[in-house]
């Protein structure tokens, strides 16, 4: 039995009669509200700082109010070329997520559909790969990427190094494990009669995978897609070490452009940070349930 489905649709807690507010409850609410506001504070502070001009805060200090402006956003957008870098992130994230889900669902299907002894090894191999420290693979991978040639139309570096292709492949290889793990559990919970019925109809393995299993996995796929978009968009390490050309960096690892050599304008940095955070925040607020379910699908198998 998996909790894959259970955590998704938690049984509604029994409705308790609403009790009068006791002092203990009041204390609890005050405590939780204080913690919640404390937790939101760094983000709110970044938004606040981004909306004020550097000249004003330089004179009055940051513990003040006033100097409202949107100029920081304009300057940040221009100096750090966020438009270009956001587009780079899209080039990397979208193919990487689609490929991860496709490849992971294939492996997960085989693991869930058949009960071969090797399946356990396969699952272990994929899941563990997701948990290894990236730096432990850096040296050989870095060497490998600088040796593998690509045709010029695929990358102007003519190498896997410093190309989107390389980053996409590394991200897929790393993220596959988590998705295989989640999807295979999800698929194991599907009724086996489906396959019996499909076989009676003469459906091939591919059709069983694509037309029977995959449509039923939509909730899990949606949750994983949300999570993986966030993770790959946020990925910093591989982009930092496997890219060289400044123009090609995805947005998360291009934040450093906002930092001057000798002088840092924090109002500008905060505007840049907010800009970079916007896509993930949009995902968070629109697809919050998917995001949470994705995380808990992977971890709470208990």
């Amino acid at each position: 039995m998996t909790t894959a489905t259970r955590t998704g649709h938690a049984p509604p807690a029994p409705l308790r009669a609403r009790r009068p507010l006791r002092p203990a409850r009041v204390v609890l609410h005050v405590f939780l509200a204080a913690v919640a506001i404390g937790w939101l504070f760094p983000i709110l502070w970044a938004v606040l700082t981004s909306l004020r001009s550097y000249e004003y805060t330089a004179v009055h200090g940051y513990v003040s109010l006033g100097g409202w402006t949107l100029d920081n956003y304009l300057t940040a957008w221009r100096t750090a070329e966020f438009g270009r870098h956001l587009l780079n992130s899209v080039y990397i994230t979208v193919p990487a997520v689609l490929l991860t889900l496709l490849l992971a669902s294939c492996v997960a299907f085989v693991i869930a559909r058949f009960s071969w002894k090797a399946n356990l090894v396969l699952l272990g191999l994929f899941t563990a790969a997701n948990l290894l420290p990236q730096q432990a693979l850096l040296i050989p991978l870095f060497r490998l990427f600088t040796q593998v040639p690509l045709p010029a139309f695929m990358s102007d570096s003519e190498l896997l190094y410093d190309s989107y292709w390389g980053l996409i492949l590394v991200n897929v290889a790393f993220q596959c494990g988590f998705c295989v793990f989640v999807l295979s559990n999800y698929m194991k919970a599907l009724p086996r009669d489906l396959y019996e019925a499909a076989m009676v109809d003469g459906a091939s393995i591919w059709r069983q995978y694509w037309q029977v299993t995959m449509p039923l996995c939509r909730p899990a796929l949606a949750a994983l897609a949300t999570l993986e978009v966030t993770w790959i968009y946020n990925e910093f390490f591989w982009a930092t070490v496997l890219m060289r050309t400044g123009d090609k960096f995805p947005v998360t690892s291009s934040l450093n452009n906002l930092r001057g050599e000798f002088f840092t304008d924090n109002n500008l940095v905060s505007a840049g940070s907010v800009l970079v955070a916007i896509p993930t925040l949009v995902i968070f607020f629109l697809l919050q349930r998917q995001f949470v379910r994705g995380l808990t699908l992977g971890a709470s198998k208990g």
Partner: protein, 318 residues
């Protein structure tokens, strides 16, 4: 493949049922056409090739290179085996190594002793039927969607010496990110800020799965809420506890982004991951030496990955 299929994987099934399913499986296998077999092979082999080629073989190569003196430039044929010399150099002849290990352990301790229990505590509080629980939850796990690199920048607004909030409010003059005596603590606050939300989320999901009758039984027996949690609920959460433990260890070992955006892991912010990276992409590329550092990370992570896998797979069997 057909010979493997005869070994049923699920040992929990009573033997009578096992025989029938094995029979059924054999019949099913015969039904698999040649095309089906090719399709299955491709479905497994393509992803496997990617993961083995880009994760497992490089990991093995790292272990191999750690016993060589390769400088990364000369031909592969010139590589000489130096045995454990790189490891001896790492431990005895590399000043940043000891601070890095200390910082990684400190990272682990801070997440494990402070952030994790706090996240669990908040999950327990939020598990009660509260009005406004959605708002509290959202606020707490909002940092989880932000990248650690971005978090480094967000906290810079608070920590910066000349433009930061902390110094502004308290009138102090501390360079929170720059002063090697305090910067690791400042960074740990930021890392913990994110970790609490993550742990809270995992426990909240776990708590929702706990059978309510357990708690009711404890309440009938007159157990206090605290007692019920520690004696009844907490033991039931064992799988989640282990997963959180492993997640915490792995996160502490993999910690990188935050210190790299601040100062590339120097001057009080040494971490193993940053040292490995600095040895490869930095000015002096010392392949064998960096590999020895990386291998040490690999070994620690594999121990905990094994714990994780045995836990989740045992749960799987049930």
């Amino acid at each position: 493949m057909s010979d493997q299929s005869q070994v049923p994987q699920d040992h929990a099934v009573p033997s009578a049922v096992t025989t029938t399913t094995t029979g059924g499986r054999r019949r099913r296998l015969r039904v698999l056409s040649r095309t089906d077999r090719v399709v299955i092979a491709l479905m497994v082999l393509v992803p496997l090739l990617l993961v083995v080629g880009l994760v497992w073989l490089p990991a093995l190569a790292t272990v191999g290179l750690s016993a060589t003196d390769w400088d990364g430039i000369g031909p592969v044929g010139d590589i000489e085996w130096v045995g454990a010399r790189n490891y001896a150099d790492v431990v005895g002849n590399y000043p940043p190594f000891v601070p890095a290990v200390q910082n990684n352990l400190l990272w682990l301790a801070a997440l494990f002793v402070v952030a994790t229990p706090f996240g669990m505590f908040l999950a327990v509080l939020l598990d009660k039927e509260l009005r406004g629980t959605r708002f509290y939850q959202t606020a707490l796990y909002l940092p989880v969607v932000l990248s650690l690199a971005l978090i480094g920048f967000v906290w810079q607004l608070i920590y910066s010496r000349d433009q930061g909030l902390l110094n502004g409010v308290f009138g102090t003059d501390v360079d929170w990110y720059g002063d090697p005596d305090v910067n690791i603590w400042a960074v740990l606050v930021a890392a913990g800020w994110r970790h609490v939300g993550y742990v809270m989320l995992l426990y909240l999901a776990g708590l929702k799965g706990v059978d309510p009758s357990l708690r009711e039984a404890a309440a009938v027996d007159g157990a206090s809420e605290v007692n019920t949690f520690f004696k009844v609920v907490f033991p039931v959460l064992r799988p989640i506890n282990i997963i959180v433990l492993v997640v915490t260890v792995i996160e502490s070992l993999r910690a990188f982004d935050l210190v790299w955006v601040i100062n590339k892991g120097r001057n009080g912010l040494e971490l193993l991951s940053a040292l490995v990276t600095a040895n490869v992409v930095g000015e002096a590329s010392r392949i064998g030496f960096g590999s020895a550092l990386a291998t040490s990370m690999l070994v620690v992570s594999l121990v905990f990955i094994t714990v994780y896998l045995t836990t989740v797979m045992r749960e799987d069997r049930r």
